[in-house]
């Protein structure tokens, strides 16, 4: 068997897991660095966070080392388009809802969101956007009383 570190080794999803876990642990430790840990009897704000972070790093290490020794498993293909489009659509909704009102925000969300799916036809998208926006406005804003202005202030 080839030695460790050669490309045909390494369970990638698990390595990613290890990275995530250790990342959170390290981040937590760094964020809590200024806080009082206190004693076991009188736990300060940082006591339990530090314990959890250390455990996280530990678990991450175990998973990572075990993953390095296994044969290579690749990560499912990443397609950037749905990820980027949906995220932008959501963020855009938030800004639009605050400054431009519900109707414009909803229209943005649905039209922009539909771009994530390459097979859509414009007519369907626009009809869907109109219909859903109307539904949302009626049910959520008028019906349930969600506090979002419908039109730009």
């Amino acid at each position: 068997m080839a030695g460790p570190g050669v490309p045909n080794r390494g369970d990638r999803p698990d390595l990613l897991t290890a990275a995530i876990f250790m990342g959170f642990g390290a981040l937590g430790l760094w964020l809590a660095r200024g806080l009082e840990a206190g004693t076991v009897a009188q736990m300060g704000a940082a006591y339990l966070p530090r314990v959890v972070c250390i455990l996280l790093i530990g678990v991450g290490l175990v998973i990572g080392i075990a993953a390095l020794r296994r044969d290579a498993v690749s990560i499912e293909a990443m397609r950037l388009r749905p990820l980027a489009v949906i995220t932008l659509a959501i963020v855009g909704f938030a800004f639009a809802a605050t400054h431009l009102g519900f109707v414009l925000a909803a229209l943005w969300l649905i039209i922009a969101g539909s771009l994530a799916d390459p097979g859509g036809k414009w007519r369907t998208v626009l009809l869907l956007a109109g219909g859903l926006t109307a539904f949302g406005a009626l049910v959520f804003v008028k019906g349930l009383g969600v506090q979002v202005p419908l039109w730009p202030v």
Partner: protein, 502 residues
């Protein structure tokens, strides 16, 4: 008040027009999302949680509960008709159910599933009614040490009984605990882990995490895989089972109900585990195990009864002890808290109409579901032909409204989007997000009780082994851990989840 009085109180509450309406709505919605693959009860409840804020407390909870057990009914419909389990708990139903459909016995399969589920639901409702007051009395003797031991047991059991490698699940729980600690520390008033952001002073909102991890990331992942193929539906002929079917299945229904009720109680248990276990049990007990997988009615009756029983009995730990046993229940806990109700022993004494109203509505909901599902099957199946590209914008909109309506803050939505990205990463890393939610919900409780315990004992941890209830929990936890190490147990567990992923 006697038992009968309390039940009548419950039915009185549950039968008010508003509550009946919301029960129906929840049941319908639940069936709908159970039928549709790509959206599950967890995501739906996450989306609808903020909406329930605008509803009266009991109505909102009734609706959410309806969604949960309604989804079990819906999932079995597609499992039988289209070989597509709408819910994870319906995977086992596809094995024999679809075969029965191909033999032209789809109606029989669906009817057996519906009736079996109704029976199981009724039994489980009674279970809650009986167990509730008993367990609450028991819970009154719980001190902080017992709660800590119970939560640790619950968290660990949840990882072991859930799918995926235990170590990863433990890591997810730890991340959840960490996220739960963001914000102002209750005991010391210090703000921690907030990056200095004012918006995080009150901690991260449950909805933000739930919608981000389960709603947004689900949509992104589904779109990645995409491809809404046409579904071929098996023909629907006999609606009613034959007398032979009834004879074959009644014992299976009983066994399934028993397993379901039991497994629903366990932390981490739930509908999926229950349906798998019931199927395995039926196979073991049957005189013709080799016939399983060819269209045996017991193979449909048992898992269907089990998943319904489990869905309802998983409410028991939440309603009586205030501890959610899986992430669905974590959502329900949030729903209660949104209305200022802390589930636990106090609810039964101070607000009995909430508990008994919910119990009564569960039975009513089951009844509604049997009545709805059998005639409306054709409609549900037509819905399956709706392509995902029309569905996901609607889901996206509901998610966004849900998160934004909490505080009218851009920050919340952006944070939810961030959790969506995180959820996407988790899926790539093959980590289950469920335990994270559990850890998040239980984290603050765990910390508070741990602090209290150690404060009382001035740092001496031996209290955990001195008090009998706590000791029992810890022994059970160690036993579970020990089980995990045994190779035989691990093989069975992996085998069960292989079928799930297949």
């Amino acid at each position: 008040m006697t038992f009968i009085d309390l039940l009548l109180l419950g039915f009185g509450e549950a039968m008010s027009p508003a509550n009946l309406g919301f029960c129906l709505l929840g049941a319908l919605l639940g069936t709908l999302i159970g039928v549709l693959p790509g959206i599950g009860p967890t995501a739906t409840i996450a989306v609808l949680l903020p909406i329930t804020f605008f509803l009266p407390p009991l109505a909102g909870i009734i609706m959410l509960a309806g969604i949960y057990y309604g989804a079990q009914y819906g999932g079995s419909t597609t499992a039988v008709l289209v070989n597509l389990p709408g819910e994870a708990s319906a995977v086992v139903t596809t094995l024999d159910g679809y075969k029965m459909a191909q033999q032209g016995r789809a109606g029989a399969a669906l009817a057996v599933a519906a009736l079996g589920s109704f029976f199981a639901g009724t039994v489980a409702t009674f279970g809650i009614a009986l167990a509730g007051p008993m367990l609450s009395q028991f819970a009154l003797s719980f001190g902080p040490a017992e709660y800590v031991a119970l939560m640790i047991f619950g968290l660990l059991a949840a990882t072991i009984l859930a799918s995926g490698p235990v170590l990863k699940a433990i890591g997810m729980i730890l991340i959840g605990l960490l996220l739960g600690m963001v914000g102002t520390d209750q005991a010391t008033g210090a703000e921690r882990l907030t990056f200095g952001a004012v918006e995080l002073f009150d901690g991260i909102d449950f909805i933000v995490i739930a919608i981000g991890l389960f709603g947004f990331s689900e949509i992104i992942t589904n779109l990645e895989r995409s491809g809404s193929e046409g579904v071929t539906v098996a023909p629907l002929t006999r609606l009613w089972p034959t007398r032979q079917d009834f004879r074959d299945s009644w014992a299976a229904v009983l066994r399934g109900t028993g397993i379901g009720t039991l497994l629903g109680l366990l932390p981490g248990g739930g509908a999926t585990l229950a349906s798998f276990s019931a199927y395995s049990l039926e196979k073991k007990v049957s005189r013709h195990p080799e016939r399983f997988g060819t269209g045996v009615v017991e193979g449909v009756a048992a898992p269907e009864a089990a998943n319904n029983a489990a869905a309802q009995s998983s409410f028991i730990p939440l309603l009586t002890l205030g501890i959610p046993s899986n992430n669905m229940m974590a959502m329900m806990l949030s729903a209660f808290m949104i209305h200022g109700i802390t589930p636990g022993p106090s609810v039964l004494t101070n607000q009995p109409e909430i508990f008994w109203g919910l119990v009564a509505s569960m039975w009513i909901g089951n009844l509604m579901l049997v009545i709805i599902n059998l005639p409306m099957i054709g409609l549900w199946v037509k819905l399956l032909t709706v392509p995902y590209r029309l569905l996901y914008p609607a889901i996206l909109l509901f998610c966004c409204i849900g998160v934004y309506s909490m505080n009218n803050r851009i920050f919340d939505v952006i944070l939810a989007a961030g959790f969506g990205l995180l959820g996407y990463l988790f899926r790539k890393a093959k980590c289950e997000p469920g335990p994270l939610l559990l850890g998040f919900v239980l984290g603050p409780l765990l910390e508070a009780n741990l602090r209290r315990t150690l404060l009382i004992t001035q740092g001496d941890p031996s209290i955990f082994v001195e008090r009998p209830i706590s000791l029992t929990m810890l022994v059970a936890t160690v036993a579970l851990l020990g089980l995990m190490i045994l190779p035989a147990f691990r093989k069975t567990r992996e085998a069960a989840f292989q079928e799930d992923e297949a």
